[in-house]
């Protein structure tokens, strides 16, 4: 949750979490943040918080509101913005989530798009007696319109950011192509059994080994490295002669795995 840190002359006075949709700032006691100083107007400014975004608005104060040295009327608060009211400073600290994720969070939150725009268009198409094609075209137009207004609504507040249209792209991109950090490729080499000497690269996120119905284990490739997990069978696989537990077991270079009577060596390729 975002918060404000009130300070004067570098001395922190208090922290105010932004829990309410409207947090008012002013000299009069009914304000959520009361600053008893003559340089501050009775109703000086308000911070409106919607989901993870906070907006600062000056309420026509006598001495104005300054953010990062610039006088503002309305401002979309960014992490570490400093709001100055006379001698007092309010530092805005955004959501505790990591900065990169926090910035994108509002694009991730599931929201309902009220389909009134679409319904209206559909109704128009229906009552107009237009052909199916017209209806489809209408619907397509409505969808496009809704998309435009949706993205406008989502981004309007982000005017301060350069190239708002480009901003959401990174939010979607990693999901589409999960960024797998560069990690050494692992492989196993069979040491016994009919296929002894055979090598198997572990390029996929998971590889199953063993005989279904007898004993099966899975090797998972994760950012932290490779893990072996028991899947089925009465006996669990052995790693370096030790039976593994029910939890995933981290594999180290040159570990020897024994599974369904076959020995194999796990190793990392450079």
């Amino acid at each position: 949750m975002a918060k404000l840190i009130l300070s004067m002359d570098g001395l922190v006075l208090k922290e105010i979490p932004l829990t309410k949709e409207r947090t008012t700032i002013g000299r009069k006691p009914h304000n959520d943040i009361q600053i008893d100083n003559l340089a501050v107007s009775g109703e000086h400014a308000v911070i409106v918080t919607i989901l993870n975004d906070s907006f600062l608005e000056d309420l026509g104060s006598t001495n104005g509101t300054v953010v990062n040295g610039n006088p503002v009327k309305k401002h979309f608060l960014q992490n570490n913005d400093v709001v100055e009211l006379g001698k007092y400073k309010l530092k805005f600290v955004g959501d505790s989530a990591p900065a990169a994720a926090g910035e994108k969070a509002d694009f991730e939150k599931t929201m309902v798009l009220r389909p009134s725009a679409m319904k209206a268009a559909q109704a128009a198409a229906g009552s107009g007696g237009g052909g199916a094609q017209a209806a489809v075209a209408q619907r397509a137009a409505a969808v496009q319109q809704a998309a435009a207004s949706a993205s406008a609504a989502g981004i309007a507040d982000k005017d301060a950011k350069p190239a708002p249209a480009a901003a959401p792209a990174p939010a979607g991109a990693p999901a589409a192509a999960p960024a797998r950090p560069a990690q050494p490729l692992g492989a196993i080499q069979l040491l016994s059994g009919g296929n002894a000497g055979k090598e198997l690269e572990l390029a996929k996120p998971l590889t199953t080994l063993g005989k279904p119905g007898v004993q099966v284990a899975v090797l998972t490739r994760r950012p932290q490295g490779y893990f072996i997990t028991h899947v089925e069978g009465t006996n669990r696989p052995q790693v370096n002669g030790q039976q593994i537990g029910p939890a995933p077991h981290a594999l180290k270079d040159h570990d020897v795995i024994e599974l369904a009577g076959v020995k194999m060596e796990f190793f990392l390729k450079g």
Binding site: L51, S96, A97, P98, A101, K104, A105, F107, E108, K109, T110, M111, V112, L113, R114, P115, M118, V136, R139, A140, V143, Q144, A146, A147, A150, S151, G154, P168, A169, A171, G172, A173, P174, A175, A176, P178, A179, K204, P205, L206, T207, T208, P212, V216, V218, T220, R222, P223, T229, V231, E232
Partner: protein, 274 residues
């Protein structure tokens, strides 16, 4: 009919790597063949409240209602089976409960939830859904998506404005066009599909399918199908390894055997007369 011996069910839910709390809610009632998954939305804790209400209302109501009826029966004067009617009515009931709570209590204003419900009966599965929580199916090694999202993105794909490929990079993945609890009334999309022994069904919130490629989900189910609990945990872990930006929930249901609904002699005669 008790389906505990016929359906194997595993569930897993996790807040993910970024969110501080879990707005997803899941419920499973193996005896009645009912599984429910909801992904709530709304400020502060309202999302959890909405999804929790949805799963609780549907599971408790259905449990009582299913006790005295045969879901595959068709009632007199009705064109649909008892199962479809019951599911639709309970979804509407949940909608009303959430909507009224949202209207009457300011801290819940605007809350809502996506929903996917599966009811297994008579060698079939009835699926009702709203929003972008999904049902997938793995049958004979083929993995496919069963439900179609009620989302702006899906509408854009359907109307040809963007391709499925572009959709993966789209900004407004999160906009759903239908949800529970937003309007006084709602129309869940309901379909019915025949099941086969060996089928594996996956219900998931968008925290899984946004973070993990369908291909990888299918591969995981295929590889770990022998151990459903592990498969469910593995899916959640994959979403988290890829960033886990949203809550992740999965329900896995494996159909172990046939489960034809009991039919009386009279019912057979009526069916034959039709």
């Amino acid at each position: 009919m008790d389906l505990t011996q016929i359906l194997e069910i595993a569930t897993c839910t996790d807040p993910g790597m970024v969110r501080s709390h879990n707005e997803d809610s899941i419920a499973a009632d193996a005896a009645n063949g009912l599984v429910v998954l909801a992904d709530g939305m709304g400020g502060y804790n309202a999302g959890e409240v909405a999804s929790g209400m949805a799963t609780t209302v549907i599971v408790t109501e259905m449990r009582q209602l299913l006790a005295g009826v045969r879901p595959h029966d068709v009632e007199q004067g009705s064109s649909e089976e008892v199962a479809a009617r019951l599911v639709r009515e309970q979804v509407l009931k949940a909608n009303t409960s959430i909507y009224q709570a949202a209207q009457s209590q300011p801290q819940y204003a605007g809350m809502g939830t996506t929903l996917v419900v599966c009811l297994f009966y008579d060698n079939r599965v009835l699926v009702a859904h709203l929003g972008d929580s999904r049902l997938y199916m793995l049958r004979d090694g083929k993995f496919k998506q069963v439900t179609r999202d009620h989302s702006l993105l899906q509408e854009q794909i359907d109307s040809g404005i963007i391709t499925a490929e572009q959709a993966k990079k789209a900004a407004h993945k999160n906009l759903v066009t239908r949800a529970l609890g937003i309007d006084p009334t709602v129309e869940p999309e309901i379909h019915e599909y025949p099941t086969k022994p060996g089928d594996l069904y996956l219900l998931c919130s968008d925290g899984l399918c946004d973070m993990v490629e369908d291909e990888d989900i299918g591969m995981t189910l295929q590889a770990l199908g022998g151990n459903l609990k592990l498969a469910a945990q593995q899916l959640v872990q994959m979403a988290n390894d890829n960033g886990g930006r949203d809550n992740v929930s999965v329900i896995l249901v494996r159909v172990l055997r046939e489960y034809p609904g009991a039919r009386g002699v009279m019912a057979k005669v009526f069916a034959w007369l039709k």
